[in-house]
Symmetry: C2
Subunit: 196 residues, 2 copies
DNA sequence: TCCCTGAAGCAAGGACTTTGCTTTAAGCTG
DNA sequence: CAGCTTAAAGCAAAGTCCTTGCTTCAGGGA
């Protein structure tokens, strides 16, 4: 495996870029490996050998798209930080494009490696928020508890409860996927005794 | 659409059966639509027209496999009922085969219809448990709260935190997917003030 | 500088997918 | 009960994708 600047790195970059462009241009149903390869200027067999199939490739790209580009904002106290992070999270993840990324990420290798990376991202962001709170001397819950009580419910709704028969017809954010819901989860968590 | 006994129903039954048999016999990587069609005694084009692609078909079968076959057992009080249901749930869903079903179900039509059906199953089972508790005069939380606090965390771990880099090497149930974890979720829920 | 290794290119063969047309069978009507 | 209607299945051909063995190339190490 060559370091940045090597040929492998260039190919990977070109292929990922091609996927992103073509997803926007032709849409996912029309997306095929030969198409991506042509756009990236490589032969299809190269893509097949490195990624195996389209699902793997899309999963890779999705995980990259889900990687946070900056640490969470500092709003001065734990409640505000968490509330804000959760609101932003639900807004990004519940959007059609966010949901597509999550699904794609889950679709990767059956070992769940890519999915674990997504959770890792969230855990890191939350870790930063909680570490700040600790520095301020605030009483903060553990990362696990935040994942269980805030992240998991949002993800569950995003994956299992949007678009189904139970959804109200003209709702803007189906299945209760609203900023208000996110705030409620944070509130319920922080109101309860902090540690498990 | 013909009713049970019609040709469509027979074909659907034959194809679903073929999928189940072949999944066990040759494994999923070798599973193809032509193979399923041959086993089911239909032509591949029939399968393509009705299901579109292998993912859709597997998703359909997975949802059927995830349908509960009986109402949850009655153990006399809410805590026992919920605890028992959660233990059973995590045991089934966290197993390799259960995880595969969940993934397949999620992989279906992008509208999330099949996934919503899975959540519906869980909600119904929980609804039965809670209704029993209400009949007994017990103080019971709402279905939504149980989904958020018990089902969602389990599902999150199953989907996002198994097999990844954070897992301990030889752990029997990776990522804390144990009956003990399930019991803890139920305990935490019932110990807190019941309604939101 | 030369060699070594891993990755990419090429090309042929095979498998899967799509699609238009035909045929069948279930349900409905007179 | 016979004939009609229609949705779905069968068939077959054409196209696209996927696989794979071999060759070529580029980057890293001795």
């Amino acid at each position: 495996m060559a370091r940045p600047g090597g040929r492998s790195a260039r190919v990977q970059e070109a292929v990922h870029t091609a996927v992103r462009e073509l997803q926007a241009e032709v849409g996912r149903p029309e997306l095929t490996i030969p198409l991506v390869a042509a756009r990236a200027g490589v032969t299809p067999s190269t893509v097949y050998r490195r990624w195996g199939d389209l699902q793997e490739l899309l999963s890779d790209v999705a995980v990259e798209n889900l990687r946070p580009d900056a640490p969470p904002q500092d709003h001065g106290d734990l409640a505000a930080d968490l509330r804000n992070w959760a609101e932003q999270f639900i807004e990004e993840m519940a959007s059609p494009i966010g949901r597509a990324y999550i699904r794609d990420a889950l679709l990767g290798a059956p070992d769940g490696d890519n999915a674990a990376r997504c959770s890792q991202y969230a855990a890191e962001q939350i870790g930063v928020v909680l570490a700040r709170a600790a520095e301020r001397g605030e009483d903060a819950p553990g990362v696990e508890l935040v994942l269980d009580r805030v992240v998991a419910p949002m993800m569950y709704r995003i994956l299992f409860r949007s678009g189904g028969p139970g959804d109200s017809e003209g709702a803007a954010s189906p299945g209760g996927l609203t900023a208000e819901y996110a705030r409620g989860l944070v509130r319920d968590l922080l109101d309860a005794p902090g540690a498990r």
